[in-house]
Subunit: 422 residues, 2 copies
């Protein structure tokens, strides 16, 4: 480990433990060199990083002072929120610390920032060209989605892309969602003046996420996909296929995409990298129909790219070098292993419960006797997705991705205790 990082870690831990309190003066650089027997440059670098990370601050002509006071999570004066007491997050679908090699990603970010001439200009509204080329190969290999790069639009998340679609499809009036849970999409279309309905097959626009139909990971079967595509062709509606979870399909080969089944017509194929990489990196993409791509091109001045240019360039290199394929395999193995581990723990600790693994292998559906109202789970420090409590039985979905493998046993113990007490 580099010397300055050792010095950094040393002081950081003193600060976090409270041995240096907020407002205390740090040792002068000269003093620190003496005490730790390191060079002045080493201490300067360590102090720089401590400052960049918000632990200390430099007062000119005075020295360095500790600025670290409270954990970043709770800065407001409000009473401690429930979220701060969640020890086992089985709801958010966030990632765990083993899921992604940030150091490797960092090399690509560093490489991207070296391309200074690219940073001097605003990005293309549709996204960086080399990334779109690499994406066209990626989605062809992954999901048989055949398209030229021109039809691919990159964005910082699905909502940013749907926002573009709302502008492009102004001639259409109704949009159908499978449930009421995708509030981000629903509120966007609603505020754009569309009439929003649920499971309405004659809508002008039909939004589906066929690789992730329910919160416990069911997948749209092929029969239903064929019906949907057929009906859509008959009435001329547009399907938005949000394929964000297709990387994790569990057992057999993934079911063909709606896009492929429809021969690439009348279907807008969307995907995202947040699930495969890490939630802090938000890059998504959509494949427009030929007609909408032409419309986008005419109106290009009306749009602005939201995804970070640096991250787009980094992602392009990362995919081109084959890391996305190995990362997908790694993360699939890791998350399905945790789900199986949790499945096993529940079977062992709560034998009376009905439990099954979701079709995409990432989540667990649990049904158990319970006489509470659902609020005790969070009070006991575990967040779960409860979708029904009826006649003394609770049905819930558990997504263990955010919980470290070592904590799964304890998380299940808390659920057991909550069920038992309720």
């Amino acid at each position: 480990m580099k010397k300055y990082i050792e010095v950094y870690e040393y002081y950081k831990s003193l600060i976090i433990k409270g041995q240096y309190q907020s407002g205390d003066k740090m040792p002068s650089i000269r003093k620190a060199c003496e005490v730790l027997s390191v060079s002045k440059t080493t201490v300067q670098n360590a102090y720089f990083e401590l400052q960049a990370d918000g632990y200390i601050i430099s007062q000119p002509q005075s020295g360095y002072y500790v600025t670290y006071s409270a954990p970043r999570k709770t800065q407001s004066a409000e009473p401690e929120k429930v979220e701060d007491k969640i020890k086992y997050d089985l709801k958010s679908g966030d990632a765990d610390s083993e899921s992604f090699d940030l150091k490797l990603w960092q090399r690509y970010i560093k490489s991207a920032l070296r391309q200074k001439e690219r940073m001097l200009s605003y990005g293309c509204a549709e996204g960086e060209e080399d990334l779109r080329q690499v994406l066209s190969h990626y989605i062809r290999d992954k999901r048989n989605v055949e398209t030229s790069p021109d039809r691919i639009i990159v964005g910082a998340g699905v909502q940013a892309l749907l926002s573009i679609l709302c502008v492009l499809t102004k001639d259409r009036k109704t949009v159908s969602f499978p449930t009421e849970s995708f509030v981000q999409g629903i509120s966007l279309f609603e505020s754009s003046g569309y009439k929003v309905r649920t499971r309405y097959k004659d809508a002008d626009i039909i939004y589906v996420s066929p690789s992730h139909m329910t919160s416990y990971g069911d997948v749209m079967p092929i029969k239903r996909r064929l019906e949907l595509v057929k009906h859509s062709k008959e009435i001329g509606s547009l399907i938005i296929e949000d394929d964000f979870d297709s990387d994790f399909l569990y057992q057999s080969k993934p079911t063909p995409s709606l896009y492929a089944l429809a021969g690439g017509e009348n279907v807008i194929y969307m995907g995202s990298f947040s699930n495969v990489l890490i939630p802090g990196i938000r890059i998504s993409y959509m494949v427009l129909t030929q007609e909408l791509a032409i419309k986008f091109d005419k109106m290009k001045d009306c749009f602005a790219q939201t995804a970070s240019k640096t991250e787009q360039i980094a992602l392009c290199g990362y995919i081109r070098d084959g890391h996305i394929a190995s990362q997908t395999r790694k993360i699939r193995r890791h998350y399905t292993a945790k789900a199986k581990q949790m499945f096993g723990e529940i079977k062992s600790q709560i034998p009376s419960a009905k439990v099954r693994l979701s079709e995409n292998g990432l989540a667990i559906k649990l049904e158990a006797e319970y006489s509470g109202d659902g609020s005790e789970f969070e009070k006991n420090g575990v967040s779960v997705y409860i979708y029904n409590i009826d006649k003394g039985v609770v049905e819930m979905a558990l997504i263990p991705s955010a919980v470290e493998s070592a904590d799964i046993e304890k998380a299940v113990a808390v659920i057991k205790a909550t069920l038992g007490a309720g």
Copy 2:
């Protein structure tokens, strides 16, 4: 310079010059070590970076091959576009190579990526809390915009933020823009069902950019600002103050913000960092009114953050350490110096033209005799903003930010030749 970077630059230049052609096999790592007298690790690192940057690719069990074929700009089979022949870009407002220290920014990005636990979760819809705290101090110091961090929303560009506003202000019906040139804002409001008008003082929402009123940089005078604020309070309309160019105000102190003049009520203050830092970094922010901030908080699940989490964390550190202040000073000096240089060149090379510096010091307004239709400028390799050609006289705006200081003399010579020939 690090050894592996020297090796990288060496091979990169051979590839770009065409001495290694696309498909050629690179020297084996062992061979390269011998020839260049460097270690294996050095060559491996250099080859890694060449691969990350798309110049070579590794074929397992075979070796490295050159993949570089054509300049990234023109990949399509279309005839060479006009844009590729623009040698002097006086229109886009892009940056030049001296304007921003990317290496310094890179240190903050690196520091941000080290905060692994933050990367494991999706970002807050409103933006990272520490950044919003730092922003509240920043805008108070810079523009007397006094607000609590809770009311600040971060986004990847102004359009992403206006998109949020469109959802929050659904009860309002009409929006007024100062001209028809801000197509991104206009198309967004239009597609959300608003009635869009120009210079309509009784609109429910009035969008203005008072620090940048015209393409040649005029600033809204204080008298007009006071009228606008007074009238808005009387009829209860909402003002969107897009203050994106206030960092560059030329001569005296910047005119007070509409937000400050209105006592922080009924004005949504917006700003952006793309102009101050570099166009490749797209982070903007807006200060919601108290009422809209409460509404946003209630509807938070409907929104998703677009700005890169990594860049938000980096920007927070960058501002906190005082670099934004020095960068602003540096870039202001640099761009106003170039504008003055161009002003001087025009006075010297084209004495018959009427020329003046814009009020914000960044642009030049030029009026000269000209009998062409405007298209010759791009054909001759210079892009300019022509806003009127009438009776043998052309009026144009020139923004020299994207042109290197050393090229200004030549750029003016091309304009002179085009005017003379036209």
